[in-house]
Amino acid sequence: MDKVDKEYLQLKTLLASMCQEVTSMLQDSTTALFSRDSELAQSVIARDDNVDRLDTCIDEHCLKMLALYEPKAIDLRFVVTALRIIVDLERVGDHCTNIAKEVIALNQAPPVKPYIDLPKMAEHTIAMIEDAITAYFNKDLAAAVEIIKRDDVVDQYDSKINKELIGYMNQELGNERNVVSLMFITRSIERIADYATNICEMIYFMVSGEVIRHRTRSLE
């Protein structure tokens, strides 16, 4: 095994580690919401530092690969895509931290309502992030397009939950602060799904060399 292969494998393991960290943060932040576990939410906030550390580490690793091995064609796009994926994953980590902070605030008050669609939305989003990174490893164009389409489901959940929350706000006056917190959480999860879509657009570019940003509708 030559040095370049080793570097690619290290990049793969670092990215997998970062992906697992952010998806577990999202999982735990939503679990903390549903089980009203502030301690778990606090641990999510603490784990953001690890995501930042991984971001810096992968960034340096990619720059080293570009400088030392001067990759060409798809290899170059693989490294450049990794550089852009980590930016999105780092932002996913930030959103998880925001969710965890909102959860801590929410846990101070009685629960607003039973959560039915929010767990499903979070589960769907986690699967999107994991599948996007797997598609990146597999250089799988078809999977990337399929994940982009799955964003519509999350958007539908977002719209449905927000409608419910606005209705609830009108009925239960005095509980606006908590409802707004839930709206923030829903919006954060929706944004995370958008980052999964961004990653898939970059995978499309990596595999085909074609930029499909801002025109994903045409894929449908």
Binding site: M1, K12, T13, S17, Q20, T23, E130, I133, T134, N138
Partner: protein
Amino acid sequence: MRSFVKVFLVLFIPLFIALTLTFYFAYDTTTANARQELLQEMKNKWVIVAQLLHDNDPVASSTYARLADITRRTFLRISVIDTSGRVLTDSLVGYDDIAAMENHKGRPEVKAAIYYGEGFSSRYSSTVKMPMLYFARKLDDNTVLRLAYPETYVAALQQKLTRHAMGGFAALTLVVLLLALYFAGKVSLPVQRLYYIAEAIESGREHVHFPRFKDKAMARVAGLIYRIYTALQRKNYELERDRKKLNHIFTTMDQGVLLLDGDNVILHANPWLEQEFGVTFTPGTNLFDISNDIPLINFFSTMAAQRDEYARITLKQRVFDCNVRQVEDQKLVLLRNVTRQVEYEVFKAELTGNISHELKTPLAMIMGYAETLRDNPAISAQQRQHFLDNIYISSQRLNNLINDVIELHKLESVGDNFTVSHSVVPEDIAAELRAFYADSGAAKLTITATDTPVFISAEHLRSVLTNLIDNAIKYSDSAVVSASVSADDGMVSITVDDGGPPIEESQRQRIFERFYTCSRSRNKQHSGTGLGLSIVKHIASLYRGSAGVETNSAGGNRFYVKLCQRRRGKTSAKTSDRQISA
């Protein structure tokens, strides 16, 4: 074969070249000597002819006639040339034609004779049309006497020599060729044999033939190779046997064995790993190249980061014990799936906690009331009676709990292979229970049961019904509880309906776990042991049946149990089966 050709060429080529050179120089020297002899002969003849000319005028016709006569007899051509190159007489040319002959000053032998006293040359003569040897020397009167003689002698000698030399050369070449072949064979054959042995060993041929060597040194070398080869073969066989044994052990092992090099390249992996992780562990492939599944990559990453230590790593609800040993620059990883063990440990801890909690509650009450009675002898009779009642109720609860634990233990020890030797009529049990619950004065209970005998242990049937009815009475808000027992096609169905509230769907499986109750607050209100439904489920599994709960038409809960009759000789005719008398 190649070595034979090499040796042959090394021997033959130099000998052939030496032979060719020898023949060439011998031929050349002989020819040169012949020519030298001829020249000497001509010098001698020149002296005789010079004497003749000294006594006669060379231009006179009589002299010419004598010279021409000599030429006719001996082929010796005699010419007299003055210093200006004019031919005074020539024995080969007609007397009258001499004056017309061209100037001979340019002839090399004539020129040499004029300037140096004598000279000779060998060339083709245009006059006589043959190669001639010329010799010229200056006479006393400054004219040049030139003699010419055909070179036929030298040519004949050359021809003769060539004929003999070619024959000798061919014969000697043949001898050299045969000698070279002989010695090449002698030298290269042992080398060829050794080469054959080396090739056979290298190609891994199972049986290698070791030829005999006449040469002692070669025989010794071959013997040494043979001994090394047989020792290696023996070692190889032992290694192969050990490898097979080790592979067999690895294959049958109930844990993963993975050998990695310093770069995490797989050197060995047993089949357990493939079965457990669903990916192919191809030797020679990097561990991180075999899958793109993110949790699996992270699992491998954590595993590879271990250094001579033990770790417990989780992968998608599964728990693995990972033991890493550094073997020089390689890493031996032992993996064991301990998910069930971990689950059992959690279950055991929960069970111990639950039992101790359930035992402590009535015990604390008994101790508390008993302590109060002991420390306050002047307590009123009414209060004493109340305390004693509470002590009795708590003792009864404690007794029920212990009975349930014993019953559960008994059920667990029955095992799967039991049969029922005597049938029981469910209606008899129903009548018995109707009388019992009528005395308790609780909810209105209706029990309908078939009067067809069934091969179910009466104790088990009673236990299922009482536990389900007790449960319905305790936890239902409704005043009506109905139970039914029916038998159809070898199956016995028991249902108990209450009026609700319905149990949440997420808790319908969990209520059959030991000490699990839907609501802790409700559990305190009703003093159940928490083992009733667990006993019911266990009985159902003993009869290879099922137990569950669903919502009924009245909005309440319907607990159902299906039991498969265990009649002796029908379900299982084994004599060793345990029998339970009805």
